[in-house]
Amino acid sequence: MTQARSLPTRQTLPSRAAALLFTLLCAITAVAIAQPARAEIEVNVNRGDVQPLPIAVPAFGGGQVGGDISQVISANLQRSGLFRPLDPNSFIEKGLTANVQPRFADWKTINAQALVNGQVTVEGGKLRVDFRLWDVFAEQQLLGLQFTASPESWRKVAHKISDAVYERLTGEKGYFDTRVVFVAESGARGQVTKRLAIMDQDGANPSYLTSGDSIVMTPRFSSNSQEITYMSLKQDSSTVYLFNLESGRRESLGTFQGMVFSPRFSPDGGKVVFSVERAGNSDIYVMNLASRTSTRLTTDPAIDTSGSFSPDGSRIVFNSDRAGSPQLYVMGADGSGARRISGGGGRYTTPVWSPTGEFIAFTKQTGGEFHIGVMRPDGSDERLLTSSYLDEGPTWAPNGRVLMFSRETPGGPPKLWSVDVTGRILQPMPYPGAGSDPAWSPLLN
């Protein structure tokens, strides 16, 4: 790594400052070891018919963990649908480490457009991972980064590298260093036990957050990725909880006359929008978490629920049947100027604003089928991405390119699925159990 040391500039990832705030959890720093050159290859995330980019991710040097890291990177890139990792058995050049220039001819022969190679070393109990991304046909290095982390954080390093590769080649932020909170279901239909669970976005490290003594629903992340809010239902009461993932501290949003449900954080994490039912009428409220004061935003006698803030916090999209069937409406964050945005025939529910502000995702029922779809915030450009017996409850990856949702077959348990925003890349999540109500975290630090 003499090349790295001789470089005058020393960059850290944008998230470094934040990462230092909880170094106890994960101490990771990243150092740019070469300035990226201009990429000649690029992956277009907008085209639905794009051919996945052939990419080679040979096992990183440094023993078992090197190979494991490569496999996690390869799987991430493959699942994105934008990359096609090549079979390692086809590789001609063997034993490539981050310290030597690849023999480009060998990689051109197998038509690898891009190449990710790396080296893992252990120094003073720390894992150091150097990796480089190459444009094979231009024979150029596109990226060179070094990560330092505690050895058990090797998967997180692999996700960070995946994000760096994705961003360099697509021009958009990645979404691999993220987690998913969801409702893990077990037991026979009609006697299902529901527990809050959390896992990495690739299905690794699953663990339960609640014991299953009450029905839990609709968990959602706050923007800091450390708080979730969810609804808990017992035989005689409902509660919305705030739950801190780091401390395990759980507190109720408060006591309300009637049912309380459908919570979701504001983009700054300072408020929760939720629904309160009183004498059969559900309306949308917002609570300021600092002052614990709540404000009623809707007063219509219809069902008003499933509020979701726009990323700038100025508007709220919600679900209402005030026109006779459930449709989507957008109002100001103060409850003003509600306007219907869903126009097509069918029933629209579970709206959720994308992190980029570009789209609103929803569940639509029409013709006896359920669909996950997206539309612009003004209701234009509606696109249905999926169709099945029961698809429900989309959640956005932090880059606004992928949606996760739950899918049920008749009589079967719900499973977690994902679809990209073009509708082309539809696949089950790599989680073997039954799950519903997924919520994707923001990018982690």
């Binding site: 006697q191 299953g212 049912m259 449900f261 629904s275 059969g280 029961l390």
Partner: protein, 186 residues
Amino acid sequence: MVRSFTGSTVLRLALIATAAASLAACQSKPKPSFPTQTPPSSTGPSTPLPPSTGPVSGQPVGALPGSTQDFIVNVGDRVYFDTDSHDIREDARPLLTAQSEWLRRYPSVVVRIEGNADERGTREYNLALGARRANSVRDFLVGQGVTGGRISTISFGKEQPIDTGSGEESWQKNRNARTAIVSGAR
């Protein structure tokens, strides 16, 4: 609580194994099973009224009068709704009228109306819909002279189906409101 990236790989694997074991263990977790009643087969308001929903005195009584069993068997604890509707159907009125008579006869009984929805809707909307159904029943009973303070309501949305099949026959059963006795029965 959840502390990712701190434990060793071995511990992590152990956690996954534990999770899998708990998942398996949970298959046999006992759950409260709700008494069920077969709904009328037709959904239209013009259906003939079901014959066996008369007042307590008209029934062959096997249960102690005023008991929860008496209420469930001789009155009926559940009424059914049309798709996406919370209107009390004509065929539900005799049963609810009998419920109100029974509740007036046993004034110490406190009940909770539990609204339910079928699986052909999304979770949050169905919670709201179930709450409407529960309140429709509550309003009906209050209208028949049952004191409002004796009746609470809750919605289970689509979380507690009484029929786990898929198809209109099952969905019809799952669109219901159940009057559950909380206390005060003999």
